[in-house]
Amino acid sequence: MLRRLHSLPGLFAALFLLVVATSGAILSLNPALERAAATVPARGKLNVAEVAENALRSHSGIEQIERLPSGGVLVYFTEDGNSGADLINPLTGSIVSAYDPSPFFSWVTDLHRAFLWDDRGRAAAGVSALFMALMCLSGIFLLASRAGGWRNLFAPIRAASDGNMSPRLHAEFARVAALGLLLSALTGVWMSAVRFELLPEAQELEADFPQSVAGTAPAPIGSLLALQQVDLLDLHQLVFPFPDDPSDVYSLRTHQGWGFVDQATGEWLSFADYGNAATLQTFIMELHTGEAFWWLGLILGLAALTVPVLSTTCTLIWWQRRRSMPKIIGNTPRHLADTILLVGSETNATWGFATSLLKGLLAADCRVHVAPMNQLTDRYPKARRLLILTSTYGDGDAPSSANQFIHKLEKMPSSLALPWAVLGFGDRQFEHFCAFAELVSKELHQRQWPQILATDYIDRQSGPSFEHWGMALGQALDLTLPLHYTPLPRATKSLILFERKDYGALINAHTTILRFESATPGKSLPKFAAGDLVGIAPPGSDAPRFYSLASSSKDGVLEICVRRQEQGICSSFLYNLKIGDFVNGFIQKNARFKPSKGKSPIILIGAGTGIGPLLGFIRDNKAHRPMHLYWGGRLAESDSLYEDELQACLADQRLSQLHLAFSRGPQSAYVQDKILEDAAQMRALITANAQILLCGGRRMGADVATTMNVILAPLSLDVAQLKKSGRYLEDTY
């Protein structure tokens, strides 16, 4: 709810706010510029009588003297029938410059407060300010709730696990600027409300106009006591009497009030304090414009400059959130639904199953609310059941649309006890098959929510097993649930193989490096970087297999390294491709497996085809940060993948050290043996904040982790700790 309150007005008002904030930031310069040009004596240094005397040295026919809130002293005069206005130095009376308010700033002012559109624009600007205030307030609460309490409000913000920078940028800028923006917005709302008479306006109390004056000859202005008593810093405006009119008076406005001074006696004829309400009103206005506080103006201006960043990231976040969930037809709002269907998905494949399940449930007259697992809340007033479909990421982690689920579940009130069912999606080849689905089931068990049916698992996106589970669910719920699974269509690109290099024939480990380019001439490849994945479905199968990319799209080549598996349909299909053959593929971003930013050392560990993304990282290492590669193959003569290119990278220092291990041959060794040999260097690198990226088979991964734990023990560290801080990344298969 808080998030909705925050993001809906944001999207709606983004464009208006962009204009208001940018123009506001420009306007914030004005007081500082005026101040820089003004001579501002200290309090007690100069009184109004002295300033008037000084002004008379350079000007005759003075009509009024004004002190601008920014500190400049302004003289209005008429000499020989010509009217003019000058900024003067109050200490000497000398002219600083003719007063000529900048047409640019007046234009920007009009843009800022009225979108150049009179009263309608003023109303729109007022409403925009209200939106801004709402967003600041809801945003501050959101920040605190995300950070886990007010005390953590300024704790470091972690990047999203999917590598998306927008949410983090948004939060970082927002928490720095929030108070400034809130001050600008609230004072703006207040000014607008007063202007449109939604709030009562405090009237300045007014002095009585004097009925009689001394009427004798005017005294020299420097001798007038009332003017001597007012410090220049308190002056607002001094209006001179008409020359040769003994019945006229001085009108003197100060910060405190307004009154009239006798030109002969120099005494106050009347004076009225503006009153607290009017003084407060002026103060609020000066806070908003920064006129009286040029430094505050600059701070508010800087805060306003974050608004373009905030609106851009806000639009991106909204867009990404929309994209993270396919368009669902027949979705019921949360508060009306009897069935809550939550989806945990990394590659969006699970959404295809969710859509099929939704169709089945709709046909059985259920009212279904479908959402990513991260959107779990405790407000499902009509819900009768909770269905969860989720995949698993890597070693049993949550997929990206579910990474906050467990945390949110822990916060659910015990009163909420929805009957539930969980279906896991995964690949039995992997050790931690459906581990996250198991974890979710365990958590729900612990909360003692009633289980509808035993947690089941779907291997490799198998349609028949899914339909079978649907039957079981239908029986448990006493519904007819005929499910028909059709995978979500993926936006694939046609690729053409233009180069391949084969290895490993000698040792019966057929491996090949395949280089593809866009099959449509003149059309570029989709955007990707080394370490991302390409999904390719072999002919006759809907389930795509994923391969790590060894190149970046800016190279103009899509390169993967494939080893033919004994019974692998897809690897055989790829291995048998000939130059000029076509395949269809799509890119799956894999931000979890990328070198960290910065200059700290990188340790790359791999075996077999795991070299692919690692080589991609080395290729991209044009900044020459220290990179150490440990790689394991079988036989040096047969499967030295990328041998020439690795030597070239060593030569131009994109690669600092190369350690190769071959399990067959005279000096038989595995990659972990090479690492253990370099234990001292490994510890030195880790102490220097190095990051480890490991890619290859699961067994190799486990062996390396065991070895690394031995190496790290003297540092009181282990792999688990490094993983937690993002310094040990694995991409295993």
Binding site: E63, Y76, T78, V239, S251
Partner: protein
């Protein structure tokens, strides 16, 4: 009979008097082209000594700004009874304001003056921006102002 005659004569006399008591005067104020928002104007009559007599018109929507029309404000005391029903919108730069007002005959050719005070947000305030004597001949040439007023003229 005499009494009746006297009463009739008095009544006729009064009617005649009231018929010629006031005249409609059309006052036109043309503004210069200046940079800034609409100008607030106070158009009023003063006696020969420049003492405020009565308000003819105040242009400008917000009464809180009326105090910037300083001489008029001082003379009228800004009492709303002085200007009720005699106000309108502010006049934008380069614009014209034409008003028709009833003025007592007694004030015409009696040394009274039509005067304009003017003010613009964040800019100069002009006491006696323009001033012209009120005579039955009217003015043949418009009088130039010294502030925002380009020309002030009237016709009877």
């Amino acid at each position: 009979m005499n009494k009746l005659l006297a009463t009739t004569a008095l009544t006729v006399g009064l009617c005649l008097a009231s018929a010629v008591q006031a005249r409609e005067v059309t006052i036109t104020t043309a503004l210069n082209s200046y940079r800034g928002d609409g100008a607030y104007l106070a158009i009023y009559l003063t006696d020969a000594d420049g003492k405020y007599a009565r308000t003819l018109w105040v242009a400008g929507g917000k009464t809180k700004y009326y105090k910037h029309l300083l001489d008029w404000a001082r003379g009228s005391g800004m009492k709303s009874t002085e200007y009720d029903g005699m106000t309108g919108a502010s006049v934008s730069n380069g614009g014209n304001l034409t008003i028709k007002v009833e003025i007592d005959d007694a004030l015409i050719d009696a040394g009274y003056l039509i005067r304009v005070d003017s003010a613009v947000e964040d800019q100069r305030e002009n006491r006696v921006d323009a001033e012209v004597p009120l005579t039955s001949q009217g003015v043949s040439t418009p009088v130039a102002g010294r502030g925002y007023v380009k020309a002030l003229s009237y016709s009877l």
